[in-house]
Amino acid sequence: MQITLRVWRQAGPTTAGSMVSYDVTGVSPEMSFLEMLDVLNERLINEGKLPIAFDHDCREGICGTCGLMINGVAHGPAKATTTCQLHMRSFRNGDVITVEPWRAAAFPVLADLVVDRRALDRIIASGGFISANTGGAPDGNAIPVAKPDSDSAMDAAACIGCGACVAACPNGSASLFTAAKVTHLGFLPQGQAERYRRALSMVQQMDIEHFGSCTLYGECMEACPKEISIDTITRMNGDFLRATAQPPVKEAASAGI
């Protein structure tokens, strides 16, 4: 197969970028999209040019590191598939493929196709956890969890934090990402103590990070490689509303360390 790539090239965070075209020959349908980029990069280096920077790691669709806008679609044309699991058999000989980084105000470009997604970490840090310090846990079976609840929690917990939902959203909202965590922990009995406070903090952090608002377009769910349901956003909104309807929590001064 032979294809033409139009790739966003940008030397650094503060430099202007542009689209650059590359013809790639000898593409096998069995190659992954990233392996095709590897082949191109190897050629660019041999030609004395700078290879295309892109994020990737596990290459089996679980770490959430990779993520490209391919022909304007987050992670490309295959449903429920990360960029690294997308194979060239999804394209045809002679195709022109446009490759861009995630586009969102909260994800600044660092170089070429690499963006800074630390805002997602900060959303988790704002409350996406159960405060259970190491050591004090009761026996695992002391907290029975109804199987449907456990399954629903797991469905939401499958989020890999790739940021495709943000990139796909016309508003650049991180609602699906945030709602997935709110839903995962909110379905479990262990997560109840901090449930409403968690939703409140995480939604507030989204705003601080300059993610856009959710208007339920649903593009996020279409782009999500793990098929996280938009229903999670309804749950998050419910928890958030309930949190805001409650009187503000008075934080007790923390004791000890």
Binding site: R59, H87, R118, A137, P144, V145, S150, I257
Partner: protein, 637 residues
């Protein structure tokens, strides 16, 4: 050098309990005066960083990925073992200990393995409390399955994403501590060297992968949780970024590297499809619970699998190992696959593959049940191969998966460099010559949640450290060395990419130091690798500069270290003239082709000591004393 493991005295079952009492404590008010650096944010690193921060230590955590949640622990599929005996099937701490010692072919340290089994039960409790969505039964209790070479059901799992869910639990605990101010998280930051002052680990030198800046970080102790070195083979199930650099730099500063040749080849991976292949994908071995492994009886049989009738199929694992069958441990299943392919009975393009067939299970349980158990794995297989495993048997082949070897540590998880501790896959301590399924997650979390938070206090309380800052001359000296090395890589202006050297090294390692090793093959590799390394330094081509994001430079530095490690692995494999676990020397096998251990000569952990540039490492031995189990031939027949 005498390798003193500092294993506490007393009966096996009391050692850890008693040791915890004997460990010195740091006063709660004093903990915040100590800074601990944690390198790596996988299960071991994230759990260690979070737990030490919860205790009050100042923690600085580093990872080369863009977020700590990306660490490769996330890719573990199958599960995590714990001796809960929830299934009432006869499990116990002792049984998990024994299975792990035996599974490791009696090349692990008894006391460490017992402690691991003991702690396993608390890990499950901790993870449940954090909200890890383990699989449940309808009654709301935790579900278990049997897994990789165990005859009890002690494996806890979260669909096929157990590693992901455990890591997210540890990551969330870590972020909780970041928010509280106990942990300073540095992502996209790669450790390039370790700094010792007066013989103690006092900090690290890193490269900011975005700006290229070389930075020093000082601390009272350093913890490496930087994973394994399977990518020395180029193709492995490891993430592309996994590398040995942190461990190798520590080795060059005095940390002994133990049993480097003990690598695990996982039997169930998707076969290679072409030269461009960048990694191999694991299919969880939980699939072997319901899948049957077979090849045609006759070599060169090109028929499609559905047209090969039952009598002409060889279910070779069931035939050779009737009691364990398709669940035979990883090293044994991998070698058996290699054997049938070497006989010309392999299937698929290139003949390097065997079938993993679900037809019988689908007929017995129905497709929905199989989909519930393995749906995500089947989907992944179909995405990669474009074949539907519900209709056509999967094709699998062994691939490098895990490295049991690593930096030598004592019972407190401290290396031979005082103050430098090593956790998880990066150390060598618990899996001997072969790791059983669902034990890696257990070890990473045991080390991080429950061992290091206690043992680090003992070190800090005893060490009486003078304050050291990054203005200390040692930091400047190491920074200069790091800069010189980067300059050399960028300045070499050769003709070949770092990747091309990596692929060549990987091929040598796979052929000469892979599933079957011979003295002659290892000697060939030992002649070839130093040549390749010399070619690398004179002919590598690294584009761009050091002062910006430069993935080629990152890669080149890692390949340079793999080129040194590969040689040591071959030396270790040559030195160990026995077969044990994943280390199979063709000269040492029984009449029916099973591994032949030599306990009289090789019942030790090999600790290799850096002897300076250009000089061969010195071998030190930690004799392994088995006081509680009887060394026996490992049979799964």
């Amino acid at each position: 050098m005498e390798l003193n493991a500092r294993v506490p005295a007393g009966p096996l079952a009391d050692k850890w309990e008693r040791h915890q009492f004997d460990l010195k404590l740091v006063n709660p008010a004093n903990k915040r005066k100590f800074t601990v650096i944690v390198v790596g944010s996988g299960l071991a690193g994230a759990s260690a960083a979070a737990s030490m921060s919860e205790l009050g230590y100042n923690v600085q955590c580093f990872c080369f990925q863009d977020s700590p949640r990306r660490a490769h622990s996330i890719a573990a599929q199958g599960g995590i073992n714990a001796a809960k005996n929830y299934q009432n099937d006869g499990d116990s701490v002792w049984r998990l200990f024994y299975d792990t010692i035996k599974g490791g072919d009696f090349r692990a340290r008894e006391a460490n393995v017992y402690r691991l089994a003991e702690i396993s039960v608390r890990i499950i409790d901790q993870c449940v409390a954090q909200g890890v969505p383990f699989a449940r039964e309808y009654g709301g209790f935790l579900a278990n399955r049997s897994f990789g070479g165990a005859q009890v059901s002690r494996t806890f799992y979260a669909r096929g994403q157990t590693g992901q869910q455990l890591l997210l639990g540890a990551y969330q605990a870590l972020e909780k501590e970041v928010q509280r101010g106990g942990v300073l998280m540095n992502s996209r930051s790669e450790m390039l060297d370790i700094v010792t002052v007066d013989g103690r680990a006092r900090g690290i030198v890193t490269r900011d992968l975005v700006t290229g800046e070389i930075e020093s970080h000082a601390a009272d102790a350093v913890v490496l949780a930087t994973g394994g070195y399977g990518n020395v083979f180029y193709l492995s199930t490891n993430a592309r970024g996994c590398n040995v650099t942190a461990s190798w730099r520590a080795h060059r500063r005095g940390a002994l590297f133990a049993n480097p040749c003990f690598t695990q080849i996982h039997p169930t991976c998707i076969p290679v499809s072409g030269d461009y292949q960048s990694k191999l994908t694991l299919m969880s071995e939980s699939l072997r619970n319901d899948g049957r492994v077979w090849v045609p009886k006759v070599a060169g049989d090109q028929r499609s699998p559905d047209s090969i009738p039952e009598p002409e199929r060889d279910y070779y694992l069931e035939r050779k190992y009737p009691s364990f069958g398709n669940l035979a441990p990883r090293d044994i299943a991998s070698r058996a696959a290699k054997e049938v392919c070497d006989e010309g009975r392999g299937v698929g393009p290139g003949g390097r593959g065997v079938y993993l067939d679900f037809a019988a299970s689908i007929a017995r349980l129905g497709e929905p049940k199989i989909a519930e158990r393995y749906g995500n794995l089947f989907d992944m297989y179909q995405r990669i191969t474009d074949e539907n495993p519900y209709k056509v048997p999967m094709r699998i082949y062994p691939a490098v998966h895990y490295t049991m070897g690593g930096l030598w540590v004592d019972y407190n998880l401290m290396s031979t460099v005082p103050g430098l501790h090593v956790l998880g896959e990066a150390n060598f301590s618990d899996h001997g010559a072969n790791r059983l399924g669902a034990s890696a997650l257990m070890q990473g979390l045991a080390d991080g949640y429950f061992v290091i938070p206690l043992t680090i206090g003992d070190y800090l309380a005893n060490a009486k450290l003078a304050p050291v800052g990054t203005d200390h001359p040692e930091f400047k000296r190491v920074e200069a060395e790091v800069n010189t090395r980067i300059g050399t890589l960028l300045g070499s202006k050769g003709r070949r990419t770092a990747d091309s050297f990596h692929r060549e090294l990987g091929k040598i390692m796979w052929e000469k130091c892979g599933m079957a090793r011979s003295a002659s093959g290892l000697k060939e590799a030992l002649a070839r690798i130093p040549e390749l390394r010399a070619e690398f330094w004179s002919d590598v081509k690294v584009p761009g500069t050091g002062a910006a994001l430069n993935q080629s430079l990152e890669q080149a530095g890692r390949v340079a270290d793999f080129l040194e490690l590969g040689e040591l692995m071959c030396r270790d494999a040559l030195e160990r003239e026995e077969s044990c676990g994943g280390h199979f020397r063709v000269e040492h096998q029984t009449d029916d082709g099973e591994a032949k251990r030599d306990d009289s000569r090789f019942c030790y952990a090999a600790g290799w000591e850096w002897a300076g540039e250009g000089a061969p490492q010195r071998l030190n031995k930690e004799p392994l004393a088995f006081e509680n189990v009887t060394l026996s031939a490992r049979s799964y027949k």
